[in-house]
Symmetry: C2
Subunit: 227 residues, 2 copies
Amino acid sequence: MVKKVYGVGVGVGDKKLLTLKALEILKKVDKIFIPISKEGKKSIAYEIIKDYVDGKDIEELLFPMIKDKEELKKYWENALEKVLKEDGEVALITIGDPTLYSTFSYLWKLLNEKGIKVEVVNGISSIFASAAALNIPLVEGDEKLCILPQGKDLEKYVDEFDTIIVMKTKNLKEKLDKIKDKDNYIVGLVRRATFEDEKVAIGRLDELDFDEFNDYLSLAIIKRVKE
Amino acid sequence: MVKKVYGVGVGVGDKKLLTLKALEILKKVDKIFIPISKEGKKSIAYEIIKDYVDGKDIEELLFPMIKDKEELKKYWENALEKVLKEDGEVALITIGDPTLYSTFSYLWKLLNEKGIKVEVVNGISSIFASAAALNIPLVEGDEKLCILPQGKDLEKYVDEFDTIIVMKTKNLKEKLDKIKDKDNYIVGLVRRATFEDEKVAIGRLDELDFDEFNDYLSLAIIKRVKE
């Protein structure tokens, strides 16, 4: 039976944003599990670490991007089974940080239920890498921030929070279109922060072109313009 | 005049949570500025990196923890002056990530206004390190998260968000006491995540002992109990 499972955040596109600890763990574990969303499709997380883990025992785990929870559960159970049957210490890698909307969180819960030792190794999240790419802070002083996946309840909160992050959607334009008085907001759009094909735009909401920001790794940072 | 300023996030207490990039930048810059909150007081950020930067040119910048903005502005202007008069590339280090409630953000703005080249190097934030220490994800699936500094508007949002982080206060107990129906929430308390004197507690809000969580580097993660 597996002795310990590390949930390792490998950060965003820039390989140098890996932490010293993540690198140490990836080099010492007996096996690295990498998430893929479709058979034959490349794992983004693996692309980030592959130069560091030459010769390692690597195994793919299939986590398709489907919404049906019962259907998904089969894939988690299947992944769990593969992980449990290992002998030593293993790592499962995930982009960003393992605590924020991560593929790892479902498996994490199942491992905890089984009493398996789990250690999360934090990684750089796209929310921070995106703010850095835009050259703006997310929040300062006593400002409030919220993260609304798929822009859920955006109209309700857009005037109550200083900074709003909309992520986990391929359609930022449609989500942000619901905001009224578009002139009151400065919006930063970031696609694939720190990857080679990173793209950023910033400006008043009504002046932005969303065309190149329709990727699952795109996000929007919305700030109310203050007087 | 200074050529480039790096705002480097050095993460939390564990020195190994530094990124490869942060380490590379700290080794190559001509000078490292370190924030202190009081003359003669140790810089937490410097404690994290000092083993890696032996022999480097280090200079302290005083950023006192006061609320008067006019008074604070003098310290920022003074820091700016010191940074500007350097010749080459310099780094200013900050705990956590430079985009989230960071000491760096004020200087960042002034540097941008002066047209000085700034590059932010992301670091591991205490919000992620705390969730890892508690062995729980912050958010999964389509859950909404908010960060309320000093617990601002906590009563209003506590039932609207799946996860709420209260930080930047020395008095978590007083802030969380405002929540009604305390039995409906699981709360994780973390003091100084990943530092040697890290302390964690998790449980129903009405059962928690806040005694050891009254430090400025303590935070609370509040999750509504779901049926």
